[in-house]
């Protein structure tokens, strides 16, 4: 069992969702987050004073997957979320011990 987590630019969410749906992914969790990577946010100007806004808004997508489809999902997110510009985000995969469907109590791959 794998957890694929992606942090992407907010306006790319539609494309990523579409791409994952066409891959057959049946569910995902989306949250609005903020953070920064190498690009370190942006500068805003108010009455001549420059403010560094280092935390920029991002979207976090979490998808549960089995071992085989996880790398496919990663590839698809990287393809769909990429603009080629700085700040496109990151995707990472982590291992999970258990997944349980609350409604039925199913465990493991059956619960996906």
């Amino acid at each position: 069992m794998k957890l694929v987590t992606a942090v992407i630019k907010p306006f790319m969410l539609g494309d990523v969702k579409e791409a994952l749906e066409s891959l057959g992914v049946s569910g995902m969790t989306i949250s609005e987050v903020s953070g920064y990577g190498r690009q370190k946010g942006h500068t805003e100007i108010y009455r001549g004073s420059e403010y560094e806004v280092d935390l920029v808004p991002k979207i976090k997508i979490e998808v549960l997957a089995d071992e085989r489809s996880a790398s496919e999902i990663v590839d698809e997110i990287v393809r769909a979320a990429g603009t080629g510009k700085i700040g496109d985000g990151k995707v990472w995969v982590s291992s999970l011990d258990t997944v349980v469907r609350v409604r039925t109590g199913e465990r493991g791959a059956d619960a996906l």
Partner: protein
Amino acid sequence: MLTSVLAAPAEEAGFDTGSIAWVLISAALVFLMTPALAFFYGGMVRAKHVLAMLMQNFAAIMIGAVVWVVIGFSLAFGDGNAFIGNLDFFGMTDPSQAIPGLEDLAVPPLVFAAFQMTFAIITLALVTGATADRWRFGAFVLFGVLWLTVIYAPLAHWVWSPSGWIAELGALDFAGGTVVHINAGVAGLAMAIVLGRRRGYGKDAMRGHSMPLVLLGAGLLWFGWFGFNAGSALGVNDGNTQLAAIAFINTAVAPAAAMAGWLGYEKLRHGSSTTLGAASGAVAGLVAITPCAGFVSPLAAIAIGLIAGVLCAASLGLKEKVKVDDALDVVAVHLIGGLWGSLAVGLFATSSINSVVTDDGLLVGGGAVLLGKQLLAVVAAMAFSFIGTFILGKLIGFLLPHRVDTETEITGLDQAMHSETAYEFGDSSRGASGRDLLPSAPSEKE
């Protein structure tokens, strides 16, 4: 003349109905400037302090209207001496009582008094930009009552009462460059010094929380300013028709040029033309044209505005140099803009626009006489307003604290002082329990 036939009842008393209507509407327009200023300033403070900012400006109406009717108008326009009026108009009890030196106005005395009241209100409100985010409400209210009485009213007397010494000197202020803008700018500076810097000043980002509010406020200020300036023609009969129109056009064109100046400066200096820059530029132009509006040609107004925009934008950095926390740049916009406008009268005023001008300005074929008078007037006004306000601020400080406590300043003045907050933000922590997402019923005190 035709107007005298149509306006028979008013004419019997020597007044002109068209003028009465125009000046009363102008008073209402200027009145709108104070709530407009509240939003102009309110958008520039952080979300946690916005209601306190709006409240001080609305309180300026509360204080100004009452003080003006009871004593302010009398001290400003009563006969008195060269420095202060008297108590002849105390409480405005006699509507027919003529204003000394202004007997030939086209409007009744109380119409003039009502118009002037709105000027007093907004001048007090303007001061609060310099002191944003740290002044206790009670101390501000006491300050407002005393400041309008001992600083604003005497200065208005100096400049606008025919018996005032600056008026007798021959220095000109069409709609309030000296009395309103220089006065408010200097008083704001003095109170910013008395109060001290905001906590975190220079370290924390203190950018405004709502640029849309700032632009809404600036737009409404501009709208009201037509009453401020064109209303200061004090009538629409005879030659004043043209005077009101000139002031009106100048009030449109000078801020437009100033906006261009400010935005151009910003683009060159910082790489972006910002919406706050557009709003600030317009206000700077409005400030600068205020003393000139009825004395200069529209082309001169464009020059005055353009220079005001660049000058005010360039003077934003002054406060960092002198280490005074003038929170919303009242000095850069109102003091510098007002100074430039008042001196511009000495450069551009011409008797071909207004017969009140006896010495033409330096750049329109006159000499330096008027410029010298303007300079003397602004220096005197600055000295009086700064020293007077500083002493008044210190004296009030002995009676009750000016500053909010540290916790209030950090958590927000709105909650601590007015038991309200401006906005209900989505708060992710409330999702921990579904019930928290439901609105809670208001509790009643038992």
